[in-house]
């Protein structure tokens, strides 16, 4: 994009700066629009699962429902409880939403179309997603109220428990791709199976890892069946109980931005990102970003499907799944995957 602005006769630095800011806005603004539409889409899907109508009044087919909701919360009063620690209470939603946006900086949308093409892209995603816990914990603590505090502690323990296995799962991906650069990881998936199918998930050794990653990403974003942080029958609304107006809406936006991010990561790390599913030349005529969006939406549908059909876990079940099943399984697969690669790729030459 820098060349485009340079063609206007701007010096390189200016062109680069404008192109970067334009790129950032090109990620952030469509993302917020996508979040609004995805909330609407998900409500329609749940309604369909439960044989209800769902939002269908505001605009054609109710398409503008999310915008009406947004306008409503925008005009509401922001209530700051008198017992709350005001500074942290207001910073917490800012952090949640900032973190939810930041991770998108390294997601490749097409070949080379990535805002920050850094060597350690995957580690950056891991680092940013490990910050997500702070928005929740700070909100819970600053509210100075029982339900948010319990919810924050649950959320923290839950998120860190599943981050452990996510780390080991990602190592399996990195072992196969041989790099942490997100764009290179996508390229490494070209013809992953018999040179025909694009995507690590087609490799039998990595398919179980994808299943673990999908479930862990639901736990990491605290979606049903792992939404113990806002179990409404026990904790009212969890860490958001004391929030109102746009500060409350930021948690929603952040949550859905994170869900979209996890869906995109599923697509990028295991299902070939912007590559078409089959390595067949005519399919490359479709722009890569279309493939990525299609895959992302398929995973979002799976998320909505699970949320509509699966009952909530108990906290001890959640912890057992994370520490006693996912952690040992992912560790064993690190050994298996690396051993297989040693015998087939790295070990033979040495």
């Amino acid at each position: 994009m820098t060349e485009f602005f340079q063609s206007w006769g701007l010096p390189y630095e200016w062109a680069w700066g404008i192109a970067t800011v334009a790129g950032i806005l090109l990620i952030a603004l469509p993302l917020m629009l996508a979040v609004a539409m995805v909330i609407y889409a998900e409500r329609r899907m749940w309604a369909a699962f439960a044989l209800r109508r769902g939002p269908n009044v505001v605009g054609p087919f109710g398409l503008l429902q999310s915008f009406a909701d947004g306008l409503k919360v925008m005009l509401q009063e922001t209530i700051i409880p008198s017992a709350a620690n005001k500074g942290i209470f207001l910073i917490a939603p800012i952090i949640t939403f900032t973190v939810a946006l930041m991770a998108w900086a390294v997601i490749p949308f097409n070949s080379g179309a990535v805002l920050a093409d850094i060597n350690v892209g995957l580690l950056y995603v891991l680092a940013i997603s490990s910050l997500g816990v702070y928005g929740v914990v700070m909100a819970g603590w600053a509210s100075n109220s029982k339900y948010p505090f319990f919810s924050a502690m649950r959320a923290a323990a839950q998120m860190i428990s599943y981050e452990v296995s996510i780390g080991f799962i990602l190592i399996c991906v990195v072992l196969w791709a041989g790099t942490f650069n997100m764009n290179e990881i996508v390229k490494a998936q070209q013809g992953a199976l018999f040179g025909v199918l694009n995507g690590f998930a087609f490799i039998p050794l990595l398919f179980p890892m994808w299943v673990l990653f999908l479930i862990s990403s639901m736990a990491e974003t605290a979606r049903t069946p792992f939404d113990l942080t806002e179990a409404e029958s026990e904790l009212v609304a969890g860490y958001q109980t004391e929030y109102s107006s746009m500060a409350f809406a930021l948690y929603w936006l952040g949550e859905y931005a994170n869900v979209l991010l996890m869906c995109t990561l599923n697509a990028v790390l295991f299902w070939g990102g912007w590559l078409p599913p089959v390595d067949w030349a005519p399919l490359y005529l479709v722009p890569g970003v279309v493939w990525l969006l299609l895959k992302t939406f398929v995973f979002f549908f799976i998320f909505a499907w699970v949320k509509a059909t699966v009952p909530r876990f108990r906290y001890d079940q959640l912890m057992r799944l994370g520490w006693k099943i996912f952690l040992p399984l992912s560790l064993i697969f690190v050994v298996l995957v690396s051993g297989w690669l040693m015998f087939t790729r790295y070990g033979v030459a040495a």
Partner: protein
């Protein structure tokens, strides 16, 4: 592309992104507060500002002492996170270190597998 020298111009967009994202979220939080004052919806009173409870004032300080088990989970998380941190450079340098590097890591993983087995046996992974 995976470059040998760290390309700082790839990190500058992240910094700019951080500034824009922070400004955007701060605007989202503080703008409605101003709007509410203008439109007159901003009418706080003592009951509205009290914490969410079932009609009574809270009996005790909400920031009560918590079960030590949360603390144990956090420590176990640090240990396994560090283990993962050691695995990251190993995963991309296997082509250079070859079999010795692989065997080294297997020994390392075995050491931690002992730890995991110990935690399991002791019931530290149990959430009663």
């Amino acid at each position: 592309m995976e470059s040998l020298v760290v390309d700082l111009s790839q990190y500058l967009p992240i910094l700019i992104f951080l500034v824009i994202a922070l400004a955007l979220s701060a605007a989202f939080v503080f703008l409605p507060m101003g709007v509410a004052r203008l439109t007159g919806t901003h009418k706080p009173d003592a009951e509205k500002l009290s914490e969410y409870e079932c009609g009574f004032p809270a009996f005790e300080d909400p920031r009560s002492q918590f079960d030590v088990r949360f603390y144990l989970v956090a420590i176990l998380f640090i240990v396994f996170d560090l283990e993962a941190a050691f695995l990251f450079p190993w995963a991309v340098s296997l082509d250079m270190t070859g079999w010795p590097g692989w065997i080294t890591m297997m020994v390392f993983l075995f050491e931690l597998a002992i730890g995991l087995a110990y935690a399991w046996k002791k019931g530290a992974l149990e959430w009663e």
